[in-house]
Symmetry: D2
Subunit: 305 residues, 4 copies
């Protein structure tokens, strides 16, 4: 992707993610009961979900695997979308019209500045935070997001042989809306994980207790990342997709932010408090080639309606 290309002004943020699952009922139970998300609609083989603090109608589309694509005229929660794939083959889309979530009576919040009541059910994740995509090569995907979509590089891992092993990018002050990390198996189009935000580290500890009681396999954590220095917990939903609970880290307000570059020796030290991620973390991913993986909302030039 040529660097001189003008970025597409102005992508606003990560909109929603579609996950494929071979075990749709168990996955739905996980997102509804264990993560505490709300179901807001069903269509075909898909169930649409939202966290209590998401302002759009839905941030997660859970689809029984095997479904084909073909929804360029829009989807539940947003209007017509332009679909494209990143260099690694992950299907993405950009859309302009989004439906703001209107809570039904039983989910109406006590405070009018919340989109939905806090139910407290399960881990009660608050809002979609970021997605981490595996890529056969990180660099072309990172450049694609920078050049065409206006993402900014925030943190980066460069190995001793010069290979870019990871790139954390955002269009918002979050440390990353999207990350690309090297797929050790050299497979294309896979998902590493998607992450939902919680407000306090304590909320994630509570999430770990709930995962324990629900028999959800914890892969690693809760602990503190070195990159982003956020607090995290990785687990697998029944469909096999890796889910992260995420809190803390930092916001980037500097307009001239210089990416933080980590070398191989620095990464070899493990996470912030010394924890080593297990081998599965570097090899396991789930296929998302044939379905939309991430949506990005477009902000018009003349101002939003």
């Amino acid at each position: 992707m040529p660097d001189h290309t003008e970025p597409l002004h102005e992508v606003a943020h990560l909109g929603h993610i579609e996950l494929l699952t071979p075990r749709p009922e168990e996955s739905l139970h996980f997102f509804h009961e264990v993560l505490g998300m709300e179901e807001v609609g069903r269509q075909g083989e898909s169930v649409y979900l939202r966290a209590w603090g998401d302002y759009e109608r839905s941030t997660l589309k859970l689809t029984a695997s095997g479904l084909g694509r073909g929804w360029t005229t829009g989807d539940l929660g947003h209007g017509p979308a332009y679909q494209f794939t990143d260099p690694d083959g992950h299907l993405m889309e950009i859309y302009y019209e989004a439906e703001r979530y209107q809570a039904p009576p039983e989910l109406r919040p006590a405070l009018k500045n919340q989109p939905q009541r806090y139910t407290g059910r399960g881990a009660a994740v608050r809002r979609l935070d970021h997605i981490n995509l595996l890529a056969d090569e990180v660099t072309p995907n990172r450049r694609f997001m920078e050049s065409l979509l206006g993402f900014r590089l925030r943190e980066q891992v460069i190995l001793d042989d010069g290979v870019e092993a990871g790139a954390w990018l955002s269009v918002t002050p979050l440390t990353h809306d999207i990350a690309y990390t090297l797929d050790a198996t050299r497979t294309r189009g896979r998902l590493h994980h998607l992450a939902y935000w919680l407000d306090n580290r304590e909320d994630i500890l509570r999430g770990a207790d709930l995962f324990l009681e629900h028999g959800i396999a914890i892969e690693s954590g809760p602990s503190k990342h070195a990159l982003t220095h956020a607090f995290f917990l990785y687990a697998f939903e029944p469909g096999g997709n890796r889910i992260e609970l995420f809190s803390g880290g930092y916001l980037i307000f500097a307009p001239d932010w210089e990416p933080v570059v980590w070398n191989q020796a620095e990464r070899a030290r493990g996470q912030a408090w010394g924890l080593r991620l297990p081998p599965s973390f570097h090899t396991y991913g789930t296929p998302v080639v044939e379905v939309p993986a991430a949506s990005l909302r477009h902000v018009p030039v003349v101002g939003p309606s």
Copy 2:
């Protein structure tokens, strides 16, 4: 201020705040020992301070009161600044060149993506969050910030008689970088409070314990706001200025955010959990007329240096 004026593209965020104090030594002790901030320089009658997560060199200038102005060629931590006053008379400035903080050896962080080590001293506030200015009339000040500086209105209080009693504005996804609230005494140019951010509600509870042990007067909290639904604690530093510890709330990613408007009856219900703020909250402010109250960093068209 005419609404058709083009806003000044693109103010980045709240930069720093200057506080006047009649008790400079006690105030310095408060910000250094009790809030846990670092001193990064002295000049004239002023001491410059920073929180551990601030990326700029300084976010607080603490000045023995009585000092005149006159520093339009820049200040410690930033280059030339354009000074102006808002309609209510608070002196402000915008600057382009900012000095990024370089931690000395004893404050170098263990993680390279932190600007400074976390010392854990005192409440260990993390970064400047927002400023709340009292105004004789809210509306002209709010319009000034919207029209000329590109701020967006996020939340608002409108009384039964149509008077705008408060406006919460931001150029970032924070719920407010600056708020204007009605000065019940009809004085001009006063400060209501400035706020530093902490990552978890628990950090604020710990701050309250420290205020108790240090004999710092707590005005209200810790509790939960209705507006912004953030967690808060208000106290007075020895110089008399009201300081807020702030955590949580929400981030605004929606490009077409609709301001949340609260009416008189809704405000009469108190804070989120029913707490009533004491009378002092609605009448007490400190003078900031003659000194710069807030700085806003300018982002150039061709990209930051």
Copy 3:
């Protein structure tokens, strides 16, 4: 009560509490859905409940008001009980045989050293902590508990006129299993509140968020007590009884503990962070005269079976 009476060796701890409610269905919803307790049995007009960390089968008996007494041969969860009233008229009982809780399959914990799984439902209170009884006169009731039941005085409030306004007593290292506080209305046999324990202050903040969303009236807090210096939240269950969520404070290991005595001026300073409790806190109570209010388990001399 004569001071020379030998105390009854050896009362172990607070066993369970019976609450009267004129709105049994709404009260049950509160304890089950909002506080997150489990129902473990029904008998007559009563529903028996437990918190997830209670080791006995039940710690709360919720009874539709109007029920008479008459269960000296035992009750659900324990064997024969000796009933008596304290000087103020609260009915109490002591029992020896208790049924240890055996979790059914769906509530079996992941860790074998927990009596029940952590469900995370509602505030998810952990275990019964203490009861606070109103009394026309504190002193005779306090002496009764000390002399006959072996309770130790931990903290105490003595007014300027010498009146004992409150006594906090325990047989365990908790700061209190039972407190007596002066009934400002000079009514006899009333309950001030009962308290359930949570492990972290953050759990109580979460409880406050849930009370807000469920429309449960918060009377005061979350904040920090001066006496016991524990973290607290007071609310009213639909039947009108005051419920406290409680965490922190201190444990008493000193065998020669000297009671902490607070005078009128010290109490006038409010709670630890300056909060003033509302007038209702000093006047409102609920009748428990005609039903058992607290149970105390007897430890035999020859050792437990």
Copy 4:
């Protein structure tokens, strides 16, 4: 030790611990600055320390290694002590007269029911919690504590070959005041770790951040134990001794508590959230043979003075 021996009525709790260090200055810096303890005296080669919530004058005696014994007439903070060794050779003592801590003006607490102000310095550990001693054989040491000192067995690990690999014992409602675990190197008289209590899990996460910034080697955690289900963090103080920060877990009020017995397969599952402790945890200990390792306070029959 014969089982029919009458236990010594009535040991009250763990009193204090003496640690040997080959690097006394660095160790003192760790306990004072990083853990946030107070120095309360010096004598010979020893420095005496306390946590802010300890009611006795001192709970930790830090001694430059090489010191001989010989203080049976008492020590700073307590009167004459009866010294003895457990079967594994750890030197212990029991004493009757203890000096209650009297805070000097600069450490006087805001609340009169605290023994000392909360300074917030470093991790600000609250009180001594427990000690874990390595033993060549667990069983004789466990029986010694049960038979002679009246400790109760709370949790236990029995391997497939019948070997008792660990015993958690207490005279208080804590899950353990003292634990014995098998010394994999078959050395006698070694310390595994000592633990200080903090009130909330969040306090331990903050402790981990401070250890990171201070360059203190974290061995494992923060995470959640399976046994005791408490939250923990293990690190090494500069003298090489393993220190644990500890919070949560459960209190035992049942007079007829049945020990929780874990078998080899159950232990092989790792900690509560799946974390595996590193090999060092099972092999590393520090010598405490020649100095007092733990003190136990005696409660007289006729009641404390």
